[in-house]
């Protein structure tokens, strides 16, 4: 298992009495693509700013390559940041922007020139060196911001919603570009976003955050297929989240009907939350289903049909390649493997904290 490159220990931060991060613990391995994902105000950007050195945590330590860097100013940290909205130096040309860090480090002219050429090739902007940064498009400016950071050969690159200001098509192109860059450079990325699709596409590890607490850490598959609580399930993709009762191991009662499942260890007759992804809801003939329902709406989405099915007082969201017209009676089945059981939080506060003790 590769080394821990960065270790955040018991990090807390509050502004004006408002807690933004509460005793957060997180580490990142060498060469990992880790994404901090969460809604705005969840503490993901604050975490990144603490790693970058732009904020000092109230408590806790930041350990980078085995050294405590908690109180080190940003210019003495061996990592670089790609800022939201690029933060380029508008009074300099593209070349001068990229050379900024190298000139500060007093590298030789030839070295700087080679690095600029290399970086511009890497971000596919060969020949743009003399341009004025303000004459470039958003996507191009973003590439320059990345080039400006990576010429310094940081061990760790922090990216703060770098694609947030770009349009959809460009954003998707840049996602692949970033994955390619990371593989070519072999450096570790910490990426902050509120876009779950972006996180699922690019990351090795996703850290889902809410209200200053880590909700779940896992691979994109883990996070999507086995959300640990209703927040994660709701935030990552679409889902049916239902109140249910765990009758016994491997048997759960949903909307008054018992479904076999694969989870154990939730006790007997315990209230739980259940997550079923819309693509995991199987529709068929009414007499074949565990539940009977009626289709209430139907939308064609290209790859699949999106249907709402009213059954036992709950409106199920269903994605299927089979079409059932509105008003038709259908039967609902769910494969035991696709029923995800989660503990019910007692209160909203506990909901935020529930998985912090990982």
């Amino acid at each position: 298992m590769p080394n821990k490159l960065l270790d955040l220990i018991d990090i807390s931060k509050s502004y004006d009495g408002q807690t933004v991060l509460d005793e957060m613990n997180l580490y990142i391995r060498d060469n990992e693509f880790l994404t901090l994902l969460g809604p705005s105000g969840c503490g993901k950007t604050t975490t990144l700013r603490i790693i970058g050195g732009f904020e000092t945590p109230d408590t806790g330590k930041v350990i980078f390559q085995g050294k405590d860097i908690t109180n080190l100013p940003p210019n003495q940290r061996d990592l670089n940041t790609v800022f939201q909205k690029y933060a380029l130096f508008t009074h300099m040309s593209v070349e001068e922007n990229i050379a900024f860090g190298l000139r500060i480090k007093k590298k030789s002219k030839q070295y700087i020139k080679d690095k600029i050429d290399y970086a511009l090739k890497l971000v596919n902007l060969d020949g743009y060196g003399k341009r004025d940064v303000e004459s470039l498009s958003g996507g191009q400016q973003q590439r320059i911001a990345i080039a400006r950071a990576i010429v310094n050969e940081p061990k760790l690159l922090l990216l703060d919603e770098p694609l947030g200001a770009l349009d959809l098509k460009l954003r998707q192109d840049m996602q692949y570009e970033l994955i390619r860059l990371k593989n070519e450079l072999g450096i570790t990325f910490i990426y902050v976003t509120h876009d779950q699709e972006e996180a699922l596409t690019m990351s090795d590890t996703i850290v889902v955050m809410n209200q200053g607490y880590i909700q779940q850490i896992g691979t994109p598959e883990d996070i999507y297929n086995e959300p640990q609580n209703a927040f994660v399930a709701d935030f990552i993709g679409e889902s049916n989240i239902l109140d249910a009762t765990m009758i016994e191991d491997k048997l759960v009662e949903i909307l008054g009907v018992r479904f076999p499942c694969v989870d154990t260890g939730f006790g007997t007759n315990q209230p739980v939350d259940v997550v079923i992804r819309p693509e995991d809801v199987e529709l068929g003939k009414p007499e074949d289903g565990r539940l009977r329902g009626r289709v209430t709406s139907l939308i064609f989405k290209g790859v699949h049909y999106e249907m709402d099915v009213m059954a036992n007082g709950y409106e199920w969201l269903v994605h299927s390649t089979r079409m059932f017209p509105v008003g038709e009676e259908v039967g609902i089945n769910v494969d035991p493997f696709n029923i995800q059981i989660m503990n019910k939080p007692e209160s909203e506060d506990e909901e935020a904290q529930s998985t912090d003790e990982e």
Partner: protein, 279 residues
Amino acid sequence: MKNKKRHSLGQLLLAGPYTVWMVGFIVIPLFLIVYYGLTNKSGAFTWENITAITSAVNMKALWLSVELSVICTVVCLVLSYPLAMILANSKMKNSSLTAFLFILPMWMNALLRTLAWLTLLENNGVINTILTKIGLPTIHIINTPTAIVFGMVYNYIPFMILPIYNVLVKLDKNVINAARDLGANAVQTFLRVILPLSIPGIISGITMVFVPSLTTFAISDILGGSKILLLGNIIEQKFKTANNWHAGSGLSLVLMVFIIVTMVISSHYEKDGESANVW
């Protein structure tokens, strides 16, 4: 074709008041100054009023005007920049209120403000009275060029603070963070990023302080005790005392050349028309 579209009657009517204003209060007065400046009393064309600047008295006044304006501008800049930075960076929620406090004296009549300095700097004024009370020798400032610089700096410093503050407050904090992130220490960040990015504000400030300093006559009149003549005072005398509009206009045209040069230099730095000017 489209750009040859004729303006509608409504548009012409709306533009009317501006046109009348500009013609009546800018174009005609300017034309009159040029006319008077280039003619003698019998109405014949002459360069005399312009070349009058080369006389010893006028050259001395012009030189002193330029010298004091430059000193005043430099002093304003040196005082304003750190202040504007503190205001722009302060985390106080009411930093705009603080900025406003610096503007507040401008609501008072400029003559009053200058007269206040007279009472402070006079030989029997507030400062010397205090100095005498605590047993220190008195200082003689009033009726010297130093007193005029005091008055100018006091009157014009808000025009330096405001544009610099405006530029600094709009600076994206992440641009500064980016410089730090790329290895620059605080001094390098200031010299390579903050200062160059605030040049438009500095240039506006310089223009807005230098131009009124160069043309002032009230401040030099009050604090210089009519003994120190700036070009502004000479022009005033030509119009009022000597009643010679031709000579006054000629010297005004000379001064205008200096102002136009300053404006041209400053407009060169204000790219994108993103001027920090408050005027």
